[in-house]
């Protein structure tokens, strides 16, 4: 399981058919806590952020990962092992968790022109692909599709599902910033889970 309170707890909510993955419902959060405890008892999972390394190294058989992690996992395969052993599942209807990072320029920033030039540079298709190769997180170029990446042998056919489609942002669920009280409630559940119980 990912050692991230919002991502993992949201996955539990989705598993139970609750699509509000930023819920403030006490009953929902209580259910999530119970489900997490049940999972620990049933499967003894590792709670880690290093699945991108542990999965290809053979320490894990199945892991909750962001798409960028499985892209990176290709670089951590043992010598002589190809990426054909990796698989990634995401709901085919796009109704899963999607998220993105952002570049922002500050309103009071000292170098706004340079900031814009930098963003333009990052959005250059060649530079974007280099960035993609380095960090594994998919840039927003429309030219980047599953077909183009498989054809370019950037990813193998068995990892086609890794590629985020633009329509996912319409159908998918976003983890949003929680207000202070709700954030504390979520962290209470997560803290109880991480503390291990009896």
């Amino acid at each position: 399981m990912l050692d991230d309170f919002h991502t993992t707890m949201a996955m539990v909510l989705l598993r139970q058919g609750i699509t509000d993955i930023n819920t403030s419902s006490e009953a929902d959060l209580k259910m999530v806590g119970e489900q997490l405890s049940a999972m620990v008892k049933a499967t003894s999972p590792k709670v880690t952020i290093t699945a991108y390394n542990d999965l290809p190294a053979g320490q894990l058989g199945i892991a909750q990962m962001w798409s960028g992690d499985i892209i990176n996992a290709q670089n951590y395969l043992p010598e002589g092992t190809g990426p054909d052993i990796l698989r990634y599942w995401f709901p085919s209807d796009g109704k899963g968790m999607v998220d993105n990072d952002m570049f922002v320029t500050l309103k009071g920033g000292k170098n706004p022109v340079l900031a814009h030039l930098f963003i333009n540079h990052i959005l250059d298709p060649d530079v974007a692909m280099q960035n993609f190769s380095a960090i594994g997180y998919q840039p927003p170029q429309n030219s980047i599709t599953a077909d183009s990446l498989v054809n370019a042998q950037f990813i193998p056919e068995n990892l086609r599902t890794v590629i985020v489609k633009p329509e996912y942002f319409d159908t998918g669920y976003r983890t949003l910033e929680l207000d202070a009280a709700n954030d504390a409630a979520w962290h209470n559940v997560w803290q109880t889970f991480k503390a291990g119980g009896s």
């Binding site: 590792k46 954030d183 503390a195 291990g196």
Partner: protein
């Protein structure tokens, strides 16, 4: 007949003794300054965070420096969640005590014979053995644990040895929530820290005292049990404390060798609280709890050694 009267000595200390006590105070000054800067002041900062406030927007801790304005709510939250229906932290605290007790006991069982042999029986090989004892310190704790992660992987050497090279099908998941693995990891990591102080103490044991016990008719076992071991008691206590106390705050071993809530220790609670917004005060509260628990054996050690010094003098 007049009797000569010798005047009683003046109660005022001689100038030489006054200068000597001033020198001793000056010599102690660096240690006192170090203690104030590196222990007392940081501890006060922790208290100011534990009993301080939380920024409502950024959820960062705001230390409150005036004790009269301290707010115990974060500390109370931890205390009220140790036992009872809301006792979410209790299992981790109990687990920590069990892990540390088991690991320290195993460390002592391993370290004492090794230290005894090197200190008293190794003869000409003492220097070489001492160098070998120090060798683990050349490699960082993290790297030594990394090595065990590789060895304990599903296809690691440990499973290969247990399967007798493939003769049996052994597929033990050592690295997923196994308390035994965490305990043995703690032993592996901390046993060098116990061997060296034990060696230092055992090396200083009075040889005439030990020979006297044999001369007076004690056999080997009696001599060890009734003379050697009592003489070693302060050394053993010091060595156990030197190992136990850092173990109490260990989180890295459980993270590396398990990463499971099943083996979470108080160090993991502290680490998780520090990284959660608005919970740094709770992390400080756990630190204070560990500090208070660690203080008790330290006070016993000080009492035991000062009592021994009184008897000796």
């Amino acid at each position: 007949m007049a009797v000569p009267v010798i005047a009683a000595p003046s109660q005022k200390a001689s100038p030489r003794r006054e200068r000597a006590s001033g020198i001793w105070a000056a010599l102690a000054a660096p240690g006192i300054v170090w203690l104030l800067l590196c222990f007392v002041f940081p501890l006060y900062v922790v208290l100011c965070i534990v009993f301080g406030q939380v920024d409502p927007i950024f959820r960062t801790p705001i230390p409150v420096w005036n004790p009269l304005q301290w707010n115990p709510s974060q500390f109370n939250y931890v205390l009220t969640h140790i036992v009872g229906a809301d006792g979410i932290f209790g299992p981790a605290l109990v687990r920590t005590a069990v892990f540390v007790f088991a690991a320290s006991s195993l460390c002592l069982l391993i370290a004492f014979p090794v230290a005894y042999y090197v200190a008293r029986l190794s003869g000409r090989r003492k220097g070489l053995l001492l160098a070998l004892l120090i060798a683990p310190f050349w490699i960082s704790y993290m790297m030594r644990m990394f090595a065990w992660v590789n060895l304990l992987q599903n296809d690691g050497i440990v499973n290969k040895v247990l399967s007798f090279g493939g003769l049996f099908n052994v597929n033990i998941d050592w690295l997923t929530g196994q308390p035994v693995v965490v305990i043995l990891g703690l032993v592996y990591g901390y046993v060098p820290y116990m061997i060296l102080p034990l060696y230092a103490g055992l090396d200083r044991l009075s040889q005439p005292m030990l020979e006297a016990s044999r001369d007076l008719g004690a056999d080997r076992f009696s001599s060890f049990w009734r003379v050697t071991l009592p003489l070693c008691r302060p050394t053993i206590l010091a060595a156990v404390l030197l190992t136990c106390l850092p173990m109490l705050g260990d989180y890295f071993t459980s993270d590396m060798l398990s990463a499971s809530p099943k083996t979470a220790m108080v160090g993991n609670l502290i680490n998780d609280s520090v990284h959660a917004p608005g919970r740094t005060g709770q992390a400080g509260a756990f630190v204070m709890l560990v500090f208070l628990v660690a203080l008790l054996p330290m006070l016993y050690y000080i009492r035991a050694t000062s009592r021994r010094d009184e008897v000796a003098s």
